[in-house]
């Protein structure tokens, strides 16, 4: 399953860091952070609950970039 989330992040490098961090979260199949359109496109592994996974994704992203925002 694929879902798109609106995000807010100030620098392009931070967006890349968020992408790396989110990709390591369990239940995430792949993730693309698009800095220009301020979007995060996450595809989830089968059998994982997106809302649970996204909580972890937000945590992981906050860790690498304190200033980021993901609108669930």
């Amino acid at each position: 399953m694929k879902k798109t989330y609106k995000i807010e992040v100030d620098c392009a490098n931070c967006a890349d860091k968020m992408e790396c961090a989110a990709a390591k979260v369990a239940g995430v199949e792949s993730v693309t952070v698009n800095f220009m359109t301020q979007k995060m496109i996450v595809s989830f592994k089968d059998g994982s609950e997106p809302s649970d996974v996204m909580k972890e994704v937000v945590k992981a992203c906050k860790k690498v970039e304190d200033d980021c925002e993901i609108y669930l």
């Binding site: 798109t4 100030d10 620098c11 392009a12 490098n13 890349d16 992408e19 790396c20 693309t32 698009n34 800095f35 220009m36 359109t37 301020q38 979007k39 496109i41 860790k63 690498v64 304190d66 200033d67």
Partner: protein, 641 residues
């Protein structure tokens, strides 16, 4: 400017002003009586004064750096900037008494960040506005007058009224009214299109002069405008190789420079002190190391590449070329072979019956049989035959219908077996057919196994087709190939006239995929093969090619879905234009990569040699970013390309 940006601007101005004031204070101010000249204590009050602008401009960086340490993010640029500037302050306190530098580095870093966020926000807004074709409302007509509603709530078959100057909210057919439509938001062409009752109209066009009453044929979610918006909003989620290269590079670059800085701070003084018997000059080497840290931020690189692609995609969109992601823009620029579908791409795809030959029946009778036989097909040839038949077909006369793929149809009409199709079908049925001396598509007819003549249908070349092929050659395309299900004679004539290099004819839809596989194998591995089709019957080929380009996609969902690049109108000249736009975009990408890397490398070398100070480092960093961003925005301008 957003609130955040305004606040930052005020911080920059205030701390900049303070810095200037402090800089022009007498050098020995504030002077402490009774404290030794040139001592740490003597310099301390001055540093405290400098800490005011430093705090104003850098408090958020310091805060983020602190949080970064807690989260063990060693290569966070906030952390690096904090280390560099705090280090500079400490050196100033212990040795040089120069505090300008630390504050200035922070100041310029923030100016760079502000500029970046402003420029990116601005171009993002510009590009979104460019593609903003979302209709605000639909004016639905009902018994109790007209009502403005959300386009999403309008069911299929409703009648909507579009006044002059308004955007058509939903796809439909004109019921009443004549007008011209401005399609420039969709196609990038400013030539208006005239519409009359019975014409299909697509959402997103602007009604220019007359009042139109339109019966909707699609829901909003299925309408052209939604499809395009969806495509634009999801564009560039597939990243290009250049973007991936830069993000990988950034991940390695920062740690390497930081370790380089560490080595620079420690190794030379130790070697000097222990082995060469010189004074270690610790503060000098640490200063050089701090200069390294200032250069270690990869932001100029990381921002300018996606920005260039984004601007390129936006600029292409303005010209009526929708690109589904930066990876496709990159591939388009590497195109070496262009494979065309003939019908609807190089030719108009509007067939007309031009002659009926060798028929024992009257022309009308034969056409009527043909129209009945082809009544269930949506193929353009079938449509043209139905159009040529004057009497409306009586469908109750039709019995069993058997479609022969790549051949034609065999239909029972009034209990008689009617076969309509190409020569292959006739051979299969054991019917001897007459060759035709005219070029065009020939539909042979046989009734009850007896030859009943043939119908000649021809298609016209698009007026721009010849120029389009020449423009592709000019753009450096090495090979142009045409695939068609049409007969050899027709195909050869068209190919020769247009100046195509190769032509494959008599192809069944499945042959096209197989042939494309072969072409893919024979091409140079670094080169991209693009297939251009109109999305009708060629979706598998569009998907299979390295790069699928669909033309005339206004209203064709299949094409929009299968293709990587969508040309909104059906002008083949746009292919060469799209290639030129992509090349311009890639040129800018390369310029930015080379420029930023060179400046960084030079600064690193000069910094290590002690020639470049922190001022130069931060100027180089911010300067490179500003120039790279400005260069990136050039990709938005595609009119003259």
């Amino acid at each position: 400017m957003t609130k955040k940006q305004k606040k930052m601007l005020i911080r920059i101005l205030v701390s900049g002003a303070l810095l200037i004031v402090l800089h022009f204070l007498p050098e020995d101010f504030p002077h402490l009586e009774g404290v030794a000249e040139d001592s740490v204590l003597q310099r301390l009050p001055r540093m405290l004064l400098y800490l005011i602008p430093y705090g104003i401009i850098g408090y958020d960086i310091l805060r983020k750096a602190f949080k970064g340490i807690l989260n063990r993010q060693m290569f966070d640029e906030n952390f690096l900037m904090a280390v560099a500037t705090v280090g500079a302050l400490v050196i100033g306190l212990l040795k040089t008494g120069d505090f300008d530098e630390a504050v200035a580095v922070m100041l310029f870093y923030q100016i760079g960040e502000l500029f970046q966020s402003y420029a990116v926000g601005k171009s993002r807004k510009n590009i979104s506005e460019l593609m903003d074709i979302r209709p605000d409302f639909a004016r639905v007509e009902s018994e109790n007058g007209q009502e403005e509603v959300d386009p999403e709530e309008v069911p299929v078959g409703s009648v909507i009224v579009v006044r002059p100057g308004e955007r058509i909210p939903l796809d439909g057919v004109v019921e009443e009214g004549d007008s011209s439509l401005n399609t420039s938001a969709l196609t990038g062409e400013s030539v208006p299109r005239d519409v009359h009752p019975g014409d299909e109209v697509v959402s997103g066009c602007v009604n220019m002069n007359g009042l139109l009453r339109i019966r909707t044929t699609k829901e909003f979610g299925e309408s052209t405008v939604s499809k395009i918006l969806e495509l634009v909003e999801n564009a560039s989620s597939l990243k290009s190789r250049s973007e991936n290269f830069i993000s990988r590079f950034a991940r390695i670059y920062t740690p390497v420079v930081v370790f380089g800085a560490l080595a620079l701070a420690v190794l030379p003084p130790v070697i000097r002190g222990l082995f060469l018997g010189l004074s270690p000059e610790w503060s000098d080497w640490i200063y050089r190391a701090l200069t390294f840290l200032v250069i270690s931020c990869p932001c100029a690189l990381v921002i300018s590449i996606p920005l260039t692609f984004f601007a390129g995609i936006g600029g292409a969109g303005k010209a009526g070329i929708l690109v589904k992601g930066s990876v496709w823009l990159e591939k388009l620029s590497q195109t070496g072979t262009v494979v065309f579908d003939k019908t609807g791409t190089l030719t108009m795809g509007q067939f007309e019956v031009t002659a009926v030959h060798h028929s024992p029946l009257s022309e009308e009778e034969l056409l009527e049989f043909a129209a009945l036989a082809e009544s269930s097909s949506s193929h353009p040839i079938a449509v043209s035959i139905r159009n040529a038949c004057k009497t409306p077909p009586d469908l109750s006369r039709i019995g069993k219908v058997e479609e022969i793929s790549g051949g034609g149809v065999i239909v029972q009409i009034d209990g008689r077996q009617v076969a309509a199709g190409n020569a292959k079908l006739m051979t299969k049925l054991g019917v001897a057919c007459m060759e035709c001396h005219q070029t065009g598509t020939i539909v042979h007819m046989a009734i009850d196994g007896i030859y009943a003549g043939h119908i000649v249908i021809s298609d016209r070349e698009k007026p721009e087709a010849k120029e389009a092929i020449a423009a592709l050659k000019d753009a450096g395309i090495r090979r142009t190939v045409m695939l068609t299900g049409d007969r050899d004679a027709v195909a050869k004539e068209v190919a020769e006239d247009l100046g195509l290099d190769q032509v494959y004819s008599d192809l069944l839809p499945e042959d096209k995929v197989a042939l494309l596989e072969e072409l893919l194998k024979s091409k140079h591995p670094n080169e991209v093969l693009a297939f251009v089709g109109d999305g009708i019957n060629d979706a598998p080929v569009l998907t299979r090619a390295d790069l699928g380009i669909a033309m005339g996609a206004m209203g064709s969902d299949a094409a929009i879905e299968a293709a990587d690049i969508v040309l909104m109108d059906d002008n083949p000249l746009k292919i060469a234009k799209a290639i030129r736009i992509s090349r311009k975009c890639m040129r800018i990408v390369r310029q930015n990569i080379i420029f930023a890397l060179t400046v960084k490398a030079v600064c690193l070398i000069l910094g290590a040699l002690g020639i470049a100070n922190m001022w130069l480092a931060v100027f180089a960093d911010v300067g490179v970013m500003i120039l790279a961003v400005l260069n990136a925005i050039r990709a938005l301008f595609t009119k003259e390309v």
